[in-house]
Symmetry: C2
Subunit: 224 residues, 2 copies
Amino acid sequence: MITHRPTSLADQIFERLENDILSGVYPRGSILTEMALCASLGVSRTPVREALKRLAQEHIVEEGGKGMLVLSITAGDAEIIYEMRERLEGMAAAATAGHATEEEIASLRELVDLQDFYAKRGDSEKVKSLDSEFHKNIYRLAGSAVYYDTLMPLHTKIQKFRKATVESTGKAEQSASEHRAVLDAIASRDEAAAEKAMTAHIASARSRLLDYLRQQEDTENGND
Amino acid sequence: MITHRPTSLADQIFERLENDILSGVYPRGSILTEMALCASLGVSRTPVREALKRLAQEHIVEEGGKGMLVLSITAGDAEIIYEMRERLEGMAAAATAGHATEEEIASLRELVDLQDFYAKRGDSEKVKSLDSEFHKNIYRLAGSAVYYDTLMPLHTKIQKFRKATVESTGKAEQSASEHRAVLDAIASRDEAAAEKAMTAHIASARSRLLDYLRQQEDTENGND
DNA sequence: TCCGGTATTATTGTATACAACAATACCGGA
DNA sequence: TCCGGTATTGTTGTATACAATAATACCGGA
């Protein structure tokens, strides 16, 4: 309908569906059919179809006989992802320490400063988003698209669980200070220190997640 | 035209293009336009378009103003990928040791036996393909789709370089015997040993790759 | 009532039509 | 000759049409 747009309908729909699925709007087990989405989004099948295919490729949905079956991830998957990140992100941080320009490091510092600011304010939405940006930038600055392509899907998929790692002001401040340690190592071009600091940060986030999951287990962990 | 098919045209085209790009048929920097591919493949734009979008998502191509720009990967990317695999595949092998059924382990053994057989024969095409299958099965049997989703793209992207790791009979036999070490650890349900054996195997493959790249450097490494 | 077969419907895969944008080529004027 | 503007062409994004399959619902017979 609307014609020339900066970003395509397919992209918008992909992002929206990805976000809705990973944040729990469409719970695991839901069925998404092209036509139903067309109707609710007011577009033709073509962009919806493209978005669904891309979601399927990332195993966020899979074709389930009738429509597309929403997969999302389990707590067990989240634990695996944290372990993978623990093994990989240090590598990315080290590469970033080796590759990033001073301007890029300055922009990382900006992110950390802001995150710290909002952490002290208790604005966990902002903190989560800035936390996300920080990691995303590390992937980008590491000097090869391989880092981004590998780590970004992992990061995206645990969105639903990430709030657990910054849910209280204390955790948010801790996360921010860990980020600062990584940043400082990068800024001083110390690859080994950057790797170590990042690995420690992920390990820390992972243990915050495990605490959260243990809590959830007690109360029942069903729908949110 | 032809109507009911087990696998869709889009899937076939995706696989074909992926394979052609990663094995060097379309060299880095080529431009693929939808229409040109339609003409050469004899299908409409829809499946071609879907295949290209999926390739773009995996950063095998990217939109480059006019058509899709073929990216492929550099030797530097390959080195990064081997380091990532070194950090991750041990984890997958350990998980497989914990999850795989006896039947699944038997099918792994079959693959290793065959690989050994063809290695001794010097059939490096077969060896490469069986080597690939072995790793792919580890990803699948590790118990979470996260392993497959993360490792398979890495494995796929280095296709062009993998021949370097099994190019001679000696290397092929070495690779097969390393696989057997991994398999034995898995079969005896020893997760730590499986991780160690797999990590050693990737490290070994990586050094075989580095040797190859160093050779290439001497002769000129441009087009193949 | 229950079972089997047929008809209808829902859904997807593919092809094509159309609109908009971008680049380029061509033409006229200075 | 060179520059600017317009027209044309090539390319993509989106919508729709059509074909084929699979599932389901319905109906008749035992």
